[in-house]
């Protein structure tokens, strides 16, 4: 407990870093993932903009990235990172990498949830002469909104978890704090308090997600 108090400033900073990493990753990764997910959904055979080539390429691309160990993935995209944000370490670098990783995960969740949308409503939109992109955004996504919100919540929790790996690259955050100031030092109070903080953040996000999903589902 004493040791926890000594590290309070670091803890505070870690909370800030976690919020920074998680929020940006969820928003940026969420948007990019939505776009990728829409491509996966729309180009699959028989779908709105069926395109075998694009579908296969994106499908493989998404699978290329997701299973690569985070350390290696982060190392691999370092050249890209230097161009994009000018650094390969620290909070921004981790945020950048996590956003990408989240995007690929989000894309699959979106794809899954959109597939459950009934073909009939899509036909109704096509019959009205709507453009495929407009159908995707104004019909398909809204129809799947409940599950999609829960999907984002799922990714949010996943990003909080992945952000624990931020420490590998000097990104800080609560996960890293819990490990380096806590479990690696066998300092359990630090672990408890930090993990509790993480869980509170996650529960808050989950409750918000559940609430919004319930509103969207109306059941």
């Amino acid at each position: 407990m004493d040791e926890f108090l000594t590290n309070l400033p670091v803890f505070r900073e870690a909370i800030g870093q976690t919020f920074y990493i998680v929020l940006i990753s969820v928003v940026a990764g969420g948007l990019l993932g939505l776009a990728l997910g829409l491509v996966l959904y729309a180009t699959r055979p028989g779908s709105l903009m069926a395109n075998r080539f694009v579908y296969v390429v994106v499908n493989i691309l998404v699978n290329l990235v997701r299973p690569i160990p985070f350390v290696i993935f982060l190392t691999a995209i370092q050249p890209l990172m230097l161009v994009a944000i000018g650094t390969t370490i620290g909070t921004d670098a981790v945020t950048f990498a996590l956003s990408l990783a989240a995007a690929f995960a989000v894309s699959r969740i979106i794809e899954q949830n959109l597939l459950a949308v009934e073909p009939g409503v899509i036909e109704a939109a096509r019959a009205a002469g709507a453009r495929p992109l407009s159908i995707l955004l104004t019909v398909v996504v809204p129809e799947a909104l409940g599950p999609v919100i829960l999907g984002y919540t799922f990714i949010f929790v996943g990003v909080v978890d992945m952000s624990a790996q931020a420490g590998l690259f000097g990104g800080g955050g609560l996960g890293d704090f819990a490990v380096t100031y806590g479990s690696q030092r066998y300092n359990w109070p630090v672990v408890y308090i930090t993990v509790a903080t993480i869980i509170v953040i996650v529960q808050a996000g989950q409750f918000l997600g559940n609430y919004l999903a319930r509103k969207a589902l109306r059941r």
């Binding site: 370092q78 390969t88 370490i89 000097g170 800080g172 380096t180 066998y186």
Partner: protein, 275 residues
């Protein structure tokens, strides 16, 4: 004076990459740097050893302090970089712990022994086990041996993250474990349970001296040299010992000697890499 890339002017900020920023002595160190040298030290903590060197090379750090000569030589050899040591800190023995047995010989055949899984600690751990008579390594072993090089063994070697060997020992999952000092201290492993260790003072342990590392261009940078020296301020040294259960063997070696040693070890590494 030199400063971080982005902030110029008088206020000097130096970013040091470390792997144990949570240790209290770094706070002491930062305060002293501010007072004595008017340098703001920003610590960047890495939980993965593979990152601080590339980060230094990419000029995202001015210095790092987490590795020994052997690790740096290995890095330079494999990545083709030319990072240089500018100051020594300490040598840490790498002990074999056991909670049930008093000597290595008592370990029953087939008992599980945990060693760290990162390349350098793994090789060093295997060398310790070989010295303890528990395994024999291909070609007598090198600083690059891995579990794949174990030729004959009395015990079953398992590799774990360096931070996990102590825990595995305490949980009873292994009979013995090579535990780095910092983790042993954190895990409150009693010193008495170290049943074997390499000798930190011996010449053979020289490559395992921990160092401050800079880019080659900065190897004579006065501020950096002073920062390396600051590590040996009594207040800091005391903290280092506290953080490491009083087993650190503090070393002051001149930058030139360190750099010469690096050249030697690096040549060996290159040779090892070619074989």
């Amino acid at each position: 004076t030199t400063s971080g890339d982005d902030d110029g002017g008088d206020a000097t900020t130096v970013r040091i990459g470390v792997a144990d920023a949570s240790a209290p002595y770094w706070k002491t160190y930062q305060d002293l740097a501010k007072q004595r040298l008017n340098v703001t030290v920003n610590l960047v903590n890495f939980s993965d050893y593979s990152q601080p060197n590339p980060a230094l090379k990419e000029k995202q750090l001015e210095l790092n302090q987490f590795q020994h000569i052997q690790y740096l030589a290995n890095y330079n050899a494999t990545s083709g970089d030319d990072l240089q040591p500018i100051g020594a800190t300490a040598v840490y023995p790498l002990p074999l712990y056991s909670l049930k047995f008093k000597t290595p010989q008592e370990l029953p055949a087939g008992a599980k022994v945990a060693i760290p899984n990162d390349a350098i600690n793994q090789a060093r751990g295997l060398l310790v086990l070989q010295a303890a008579g528990l395994v024999t390594l291909k070609g007598g072993g090198t600083a690059f041996s891995s579990t794949a090089d174990v030729e004959s063994k009395k015990v079953d070697v398992v590799t774990l993250d360096a931070s996990q060997t102590a825990g595995a020992l305490q949980a009873g999952s292994v009979a013995g474990a090579i535990v780095n000092n910092n983790y042993a201290t954190s895990a409150k492993l009693p010193r008495d349970n170290a049943i074997f260790q390499d000798d930190p003072a011996s010449a053979s342990a020289a490559p395992y001296v921990n160092i401050f590392t800079a880019r080659k261009a900065d190897k004579d940078n006065a501020t950096y040299l002073k920062l390396a020296e600051l590590y040996h301020d009594p207040a800091v040294e005391k903290g280092v010992q506290e953080a490491n259960g009083n087993v650190a063997v503090l070393r002051t070696v001149s930058a030139a000697d360190l750099q010469a040693l690096l050249t030697t070890v690096q040549d060996q590494a290159v040779a090892a890499g070619k074989k």
